[in-house]
């Protein structure tokens, strides 16, 4: 493989990695936009979705059915957690709520450890067949599925927030909770729906990536952190920014590992997070500061 082939391969790998981060960042951003809460348990939704689907598949359920059941189950779990842990503390400060989600994250990981143990689980690829070759670089069909899911999710969320009445209602909640209440929007219902949706999105992401990365009870932690970094880079309440942040992070990691040193990979995400927070805390295309109330 020549040098341009190598660059292309790293780019494709980075795009796959970046799409994974984008999906998690999208879920983080959705919850944040609606409720103002940074959900640190997002990674655990990914892990539980992947593990559940792997178990259902191993028990003989077709992949499509396993996907649907897992996504619905994790959505229900997300909603349940919102009612059990977030709702009772809804008048607390943002920081308290974030700490609650960290607690939820630890509990979920413990639960996953009890149910599935420490062994990794595998899930079959969605489509059979070997890698496709683009200009000398290989890309696995599963990566294409992940690109597809990221693109579809981005389009869906964008359409929801910008084009639908419900989406606008959701945005109203985060801009002014009291104002939204006055015009008949119930922020409590919105918060419940946001957690259920991020559960579903997280589980879908987990199931799409499991054929490539395997599913383990502790896979969610690092993915959650990376998704969080991607969301910060993108500006936390901007779905386009989350995808851009995720892809940027994935590509930087891939080039960092492939061209400089593989030890640099995880450090890079943290360095980027610190730099973005110091230099441009509103995110590269964030709008938090620009908004005038």
């Amino acid at each position: 493989m020549d040098i341009s082939g190598q660059f292309l391969q790293l780019l494709l790998t980075g795009l796959t990695l970046g799409s994974i981060y984008s999906l998690i960042a999208l879920a983080v951003v959705t919850t944040f936009s609606i409720t103002g809460i940074l959900n640190m348990a997002q990674g655990e939704f990914v892990a539980i979705g992947a593990l559940l689907a792997a178990s259902l598949c191993a028990a003989g359920m077709p992949l499509g059915a396993a996907f649907l059941v897992s996504v619905l189950a994790v959505a229900a779990l997300g909603g349940l957690l919102e009612r059990a842990a977030i709702h009772p503390a809804r008048r607390a400060s943002g920081l308290t709520l974030v700490i609650i989600t960290i607690g939820v994250s630890i509990s979920l990981r413990g639960l996953a450890l009890l149910i599935w143990g420490t062994e990794p689980f595998s899930l079959p690829a969605f489509t059979k067949g070997g890698p496709l070759f683009v200009g000398g670089a290989a890309v696995s069909p599963q990566s294409l599925w992940i690109f597809g899911l990221a693109a579809a999710t981005l389009a869906g969320l964008y359409a929801f927030f910008e084009l639908t009445y419900a989406g606008k209602a959701v945005k109203a909640c985060v801009i002014n909770r009291t104002g939204a209440r006055l015009v008949g929007i119930n922020p409590n219902t919105m918060s419940f729906l946001a957690f259920a949706a991020s559960g579903a999105l997280g589980a879908a992401a987990g199931i799409f990536i499991a054929p490539l990365t395997l599913a383990t009870y502790d896979m969610g932690f690092m993915l959650g952190v990376k998704g969080f970094v991607a969301a910060i880079i993108g500006g936390l309440n901007n779905v386009g920014g989350a995808v851009l942040g995720g892809i940027l992070l994935g590509i930087l990691e891939s080039y960092g590992a492939g061209l400089v040193s593989s030890g640099l990979k995880d450090a890079l995400a943290m360095i980027i997070l610190i730099v973005v927070l110091l230099v441009k805390p509103e995110g590269i295309i964030g709008t938090i500061n620009a908004r005038k109330i």
Partner: protein
């Protein structure tokens, strides 16, 4: 509106600190003592095993084997009439937890400590057992666990050292006329140990390392590292890792369309490597203890009887075939029991007795431990196998 921004920055920093704290956890223990009314005082043995975390694929069969062997031992009257009380602690594949666990065991006055499963966690305990003068038998691979012997007086190990594996691989490369290789390893004590020995031995054998790359145990995609292999002129790739990362790199290796031979270390000697790689493992060549191919080795082999006996016991109890890691645990316990039998319940005497072990036929090989070699296994303890259709096949 400046204020909310500050909050987000603050929140993010708090989260980063909290994330760091999340990496630690809690302890779990398991006792397998004999509760029957035996008059003799029980002999206490401790074990620190990587039951959860990244090395759990090694630690779980080891824990199961230890529990099984101790039960069998106590049913047969224990050691010289004394029942054995085994305490197994989980180190969660974490070096700090391993040190805490071994200190806890020493406080409980154990005669000796077995463990750990991985090289990194084993290395972490060495300082403590050396200072406290407690015999320790590791079940991990890195040669540095027992070398240099003068600084490792109290440390022994049952897994074949990297050097044995490396020599087996170099022998294969020479036989095939391969002179340029790529070397990929896990960024931990196991991978690092393998790398150091391989670099030395390869240089001595005139084999050039065209690409040298590492990856993290928790990495999900090693395509960037393999890209370098693909653009090099390496004639074979050698990977020093354990599952799940070893399985992922094997999948990536096939996905990226590399067609050179892929050689793994004995770290992938368990069924979960094959299962997790989902077909990508076919064609992989590796040196391994004889356990996985016990039925294929000739009857004249001195280990055959021990191997079949262990496989039979394990399969009956757990309904699944044992792997090499369980074998390391079985040998660690047998070596210790045999030493206690002769030396009695005295730490120093047990250490001296372990060092005198000769011609001890175990699951992992025939042990000849000496004052120079605290492992005692030679090249004859391993065979080369190839994975074919998800099965281990002895390479003739």
């Amino acid at each position: 509106m400046k204020k909310p921004m500050k909050n987000i920055t603050l929140t993010s920093l708090v989260i980063m600190v909290a994330a760091g704290l999340l990496l630690s956890g809690c302890t779990s223990g398991k006792d397998a003592g004999n509760k029957a009314g035996v008059a003799n005082e029980p002999y206490k043995i401790g074990a620190v095993v990587d039951i959860s975390g990244n090395s759990s694929s090694l630690g779980l069969p080891e824990r199961d084997t230890l529990l099984m062997q101790v039960e069998k031992l106590n049913a047969g009257g224990g050691i010289n009439g004394h029942p054995v009380e085994l305490t197994i602690l989980d180190n969660k594949s974490d070096e700090t937890e391993a040190v805490l666990a071994v200190k806890k065991l020493i406080e409980q006055k154990v005669l000796a400590v077995l463990g750990c499963s991985a090289s990194g966690t084993s290395m972490a305990m060495i300082n403590t057992v050396q200072n406290e003068k407690v015999p320790m038998i590791s079940m991990a691979a890195a040669s540095t666990i027992v070398e240099p012997v003068k600084d490792r007086q109290w440390v022994f190990k049952t897994a074949q050292s990297d050097i044995v594996t490396v020599k087996k691989i170099i022998g294969y490369l020479k036989e095939k006329g391969i002179t340029k290789v790529a070397f990929l390893y896990m960024n931990n004590a196991y991978g690092d140990g393998g790398k150091k020995v391989f670099i030395n031995e390869a240089a001595a054998a005139g084999i050039e390392i065209a690409v040298e790359e590492k990856f993290e145990a928790s990495d999900k995609d090693m395509t960037p590292q393999l890209t370098k292999v693909k653009s090099s002129s390496a004639q074979a790739a050698i990977v020093w890792a354990i599952p799940p990362s070893a399985s992922i790199i094997t999948k990536n290796f096939r996905d990226i369309g590399l067609s050179i031979p892929l050689i793994h270390s004995h770290g992938v000697g368990n069924q979960s490597f094959i299962d997790l790689a989902q077909g990508a493992a076919d064609g992989v060549i590796l040196p391994i203890g004889k356990l996985t191919v016990a039925s294929q080795i000739p009857d004249s082999d001195p280990q055959k009887k021990v191997l079949l006996g262990y496989i039979d016991d394990y399969t009956k109890k757990y309904n699944t075939a044992p792997n090499s890691f369980g074998g390391y645990a079985a040998d660690a316990l047998s070596l210790l029991v045999s030493a206690i039998q002769k030396a009695g319940p005295d730490r120093a005497a047990i250490r001296d007795q372990l060092e005198k072990t000769q011609n001890f036929t175990g699951v992992s090989g025939v042990f000849n431990i000496s004052t120079q070699d605290h492992n005692g296994l030679g090249e004859d303890s391993m065979v080369l196998v190839q994975i074919q259709n998800g099965q281990w096949k002895l390479l003739k």
